[in-house]
Subunit: 207 residues, 4 copies
């Protein structure tokens, strides 16, 4: 029934894979991304360099996969009753991810590499950033259905604002992503648009 035809040849070593991801995470914490080298990861992991090059295109890709495990905190997509509550839940989940010890350094590193290496930038977008945006899109879509989504800005722009603010704090100001920011963003973005359009929607929802 199952089509899991094993390919011929020695199978990939899971222990090597895990040792590499662990070593990369440890090393980036100890020596920073600039000091991180494939040689260093290979030595720490007790692995040949080729084994890294065989499965990852760059040290940033290793980090990205290592980070995927840490970022396993699943975004809460269940309905909290209102757009603002949904927003707050999403932001709190993001807050928990970003405030993990090695996570901020890792995020800085992968975003930096994405600027320098366009091919990695594409991978970062498709395998990480886009997924986060899609999760967020669930919230705005639900709010639109529910009727409490402000008319402006458009959902894509809202995502830019939310993610942009978080990334800016991580990369530029090195300020903590604290609960106050959760409150500020949720309140700001959930507040009905000024002018007639907002009222119209409220009226519609109230009917």
């Amino acid at each position: 029934m199952s089509d899991e035809r094993r390919s011929p040849g020695r199978p990939r070593s899971q222990s090597a894979r895990e040792a590499i991801l662990t070593a990369a995470l440890e090393l980036v914490g100890e020596v920073g991304y600039a000091g991180l080298t494939i040689d260093g990861i290979a030595n720490r992991a007790g692995v040949g360099k080729q084994t890294i090059y065989r499965w990852w295109a760059s040290k940033a890709d290793v980090l990205l996969e290592a980070g995927a495990a840490l970022a396993d905190v699943r975004v809460p997509v269940q309905d909290c009753g209102s757009y603002e509550a949904d927003l707050r839940a999403f932001l709190k989940a993001s807050y928990r991810i970003v405030n993990q010890p090695q996570m901020a350094d890792l995020l800085r590193a992968v975003m930096a590499e994405a600027q320098i290496n366009p091919a990695f930038g594409d991978r970062l977008r498709s395998e990480f950033l886009q997924r986060r945006r899609e999760a967020f899109a669930i919230i705005t879509a639900r709010a639109r259905d529910r009727g409490d989504l402000p008319e402006r800005p458009a959902p894509g722009t809202v995502a830019d604002i939310v993610f942009g603010t978080i990334w800016y704090r991580v990369m530029a100001t090195h300020q903590a992503f604290d609960k106050r920011l959760v409150d500020d963003l949720a309140a700001l973005l959930a507040r009905p648009s000024s002018g007639s359009s907002g009222r119209r929607r409220s009226a519609g929802a109230g009917t």
Copy 2:
């Protein structure tokens, strides 16, 4: 009258300085930041490597200084009559800077380097990011005095939102910084704080 006591020895060559900045800008456009090397800049500029190392700490510092010329578009700090108008003026000026041809690439490069090289990160913050925030702070301070600054978020957080959104578009989505975003951000941030909470706070403050 003038205190320009010339130091002894041969003075710094202005032609070399300009050739270096020009070469760096050209090369980063041709080969990207990853392909940019001190050797390459020196060759293109017809200059010895040592001349670069004498005056700049890294290729990112060369770019930062090269970019300063491009970013000469001075932020408008004059009063436009309302917080929203001031915001819109500031955002339009930023829009003009970011949309210069080589500027987005240059911004990406220096922000990436800042993540990788902490010492450069400090220089970027103190010599560029902080200056932009200070210019923006004039606007929020004036709005506070004028009385049309929403109570929340705090001015620093507003700056995080504004700059964060712009940087995120430059670095993550590669979306254009268009006039629609100017409108959205100005409208969103100038809109008065929502209903009861704002009033409650005012009431509390008044007691």
Copy 3:
């Protein structure tokens, strides 16, 4: 009678053996000995690397065995009537071997490897060079018995001169091993020693 007790397990694949020897010969002609790799031989032969390592110690050993087939031209050991005629017959046989198309390259390769890898050097001596010397020793021994062997040089030194000259042409000058060299060497080495000993022998032969 026969003790050919077959060991259990799958017997060695003759088709794999032949494919390997053929692939090695082809490849050394196409890419040279430096470009010859075990991986390359295995791929060309459609064989796993392990199958090569199981039966040969190095790529030079593969070539040595591959060359053994080409060098099948057996040295003529039958008596031609005189030392000079025997010499000439031996040299002509060597000439036919060396002038085979792939043979000179193969000889160069194995002699080079013997200099670099002492263990292979021992194998080359015992399995190839020494056999050739033993074949040659038959000629000098017969000449001694017959009485037309010059007193000097000693047979071992004569072998050094004969083989040395051939190898030098193959390795150092890349000159063809031509019939003129056959004549020169045969005439030189069969000529009676100068001085009293030579005369004594001549006298003896004349009696």
Copy 4:
């Protein structure tokens, strides 16, 4: 007067050059040619790898230059009175070179590399082997003039025999190049050709 216009830039470091040649000679003695690496030479010499690659094309070229110093024993070209005496003097000089402690290993290595790397083979021929042959050619030319050069073999073939025998002992039999071989070769090659041709020449020379 002198046109030794120094080129601009830092001049080549003689101390680095000598350290590299010394390190190469030491290492080839310790670990053999197969174990000799550019990395190893660079480390032993306290030098960057690039400094080696800048001036030499391969480790064999380093050895060849290192060996040139050892082989400084100049071939004696002065007239010893007879062809046989000249031959003996040349062979004794070669004997002294080959019997230097590191020399045999070095010769084996460069000749091996010449088989494997054709470009190096050309360099070895033009910079070493050919020079030795030219020195030897002086002896045969002088003998021809003097009249005591046997008619056959031709001078080039005589050189093949002399050098071939020496190289064969070094590479194939690992026998010492001893004084007995000097005597044997000198006697063999100086002995007049058999038959009338030799006598004719003697007669002519005697007139």
